[in-house]
């Protein structure tokens, strides 16, 4: 049972990649990418969790209590910002792709044939 979070992370990573590979629509590609990325959140937070640990905020609990690792949470915060920005940028590209190619199927986006 204690492997479950890591197993979920592997599942999300590979399933998301499958979605990207199988996608016929670039919007779907982008959304599947965000699933791939979410696997890293699960992994990181799973790594830093301590049994019966409390959230690392000592406004209302004593400092000496058992706290979970705050560092991984900071890494995940950065990760989430990266997710939001990359998705915005990619969707801007997809919108332009539809203007230029008239399609968002990656199979139709082939200006360079060689």
């Amino acid at each position: 049972m204690s492997f479950l979070p890591y197993a979920v992370a592997v599942w999300l990573f590979v399933a998301g990649l499958w979605g990207v590979v199988a996608s016929r629509n670039l919007v779907r590609t982008v959304l599947c990418l965000s699933v791939v990325q979410s696997s890293t959140y699960v992994l990181l937070l799973g790594v830093g969790y301590r049994s019966a640990g409390r959230a690392p905020i000592v406004a209302d609990v004593p400092v000496v209590s058992k706290l979970v690792d705050p560092t991984v949470q900071v890494l995940v915060l950065t990760d989430i910002v990266i997710e939001a920005t990359v998705i915005a940028l990619l969707l801007a590209l997809v919108v332009q792709a539809h203007k230029r190619f008239g399609s968002v199927d990656p199979a139709d986006l082939r200006p360079l044939r060689d």
């Binding site: 599942w11 049994s51 000592v58 406004a59 915060l77 910002v81 801007a92």
Partner: protein
């Protein structure tokens, strides 16, 4: 490659990758049994040395403030990139005359909806300000609060007339807000260099733990990030909404 070949390749490679990852992950400490020292030291250090009670924010804006610099500039770069990619082209035009307003954007908002949304605006803004300012004390901080702040004007945007409200917050102003927020974060770090001779050194008085202005320059960092995120998300949203609602090719008739 044909679709079939592609899926076939992945059918071999994907499970192989999963096996590789699982083999690696088996070396991880069992869930809940993590014993790294980094977090322990941080939990010990922050309250005593920096008078902050939210360790995550303290890490974000003080210990690992340099990472956050990178993070803020990723956001800034992405927004600049979106502005670059969605710029109006020569073969496009924006339908922006007053006569157009309402005809094509979000039409048909009832007065009730509009009123309710406008009532939401101050509530959301107040919440955003609260989250930004209490970053060092309770969950939240510049990023989360900034996004909530951006949601305030958005409520008005979605309920009312898109164009009329967009005139109040034009792209240029939002770009400036975004840029100033990012610059403020970088310059607060330079403050450390100037006053304490090390970049991102916390150079302000630390205050009393649990009080609003505790944690030295963390509160200011949080505000800078909040401003940047507000500008960044409002800009991104309106850029995309412009594309969806206003910008048309010259040849198109709506």
């Amino acid at each position: 490659m044909s679709r079939r070949a592609r899926l076939g390749l992945f059918a071999c490679a994907g499970p192989a990758l999963a096996v590789v990852l699982v083999l690696g992950f088996r070396g991880l400490p069992a869930f809940g049994h993590y014993h790294g020292v980094y977090g322990l030291v941080v939990n010990g250090v922050e309250l005593s040395l920096r008078h902050a009670t939210d360790m995550v924010t303290a890490l974000n804006f003080d210990l690992r403030a340099f990472d956050t610099l990178g993070e803020e500039f990723i956001l800034f770069a992405a927004v600049t990139g979106v502005a670059l990619l969605l710029r109006e082209l020569r073969d496009e035009s924006q339908r922006g005359s007053a006569a157009d307003d309402g005809a094509h954007s979000f039409s048909g908002a009832s007065d009730g909806l509009r009123g309710a949304s406008l009532l939401l605006v101050p509530l959301i803004v107040a919440l955003g300000v609260y989250i930004v300012l209490h970053g060092a004390l309770t969950p939240g901080g510049g990023f989360q609060g900034g996004l909530v702040l951006a949601a305030g004007p958005l409520a008005a945007l979605l309920a009312g007339r898109y164009l009329a409200l967009k005139r109040l917050a034009p792209h240029a102003a939002l770009e400036v807000l975004d840029a100033l927020g990012a610059a403020a974060y970088a310059l607060l770090g330079l403050g450390g260099l100037v006053f304490a001779s090390i970049y991102v050194k916390n150079f302000l008085p630390l205050g009393i733990p649990g009080h609003l202005l505790s944690g030295g320059f963390m509160a200011l960092n949080s505000i800078a990030v909040g401003l940047e995120v507000t500008g960044a998300f409002l800009l991104t949203w309106t850029e995309f909404l412009d594309q969806a609602l206003l910008i048309r090719r010259r040849s198109e008739r709506s």
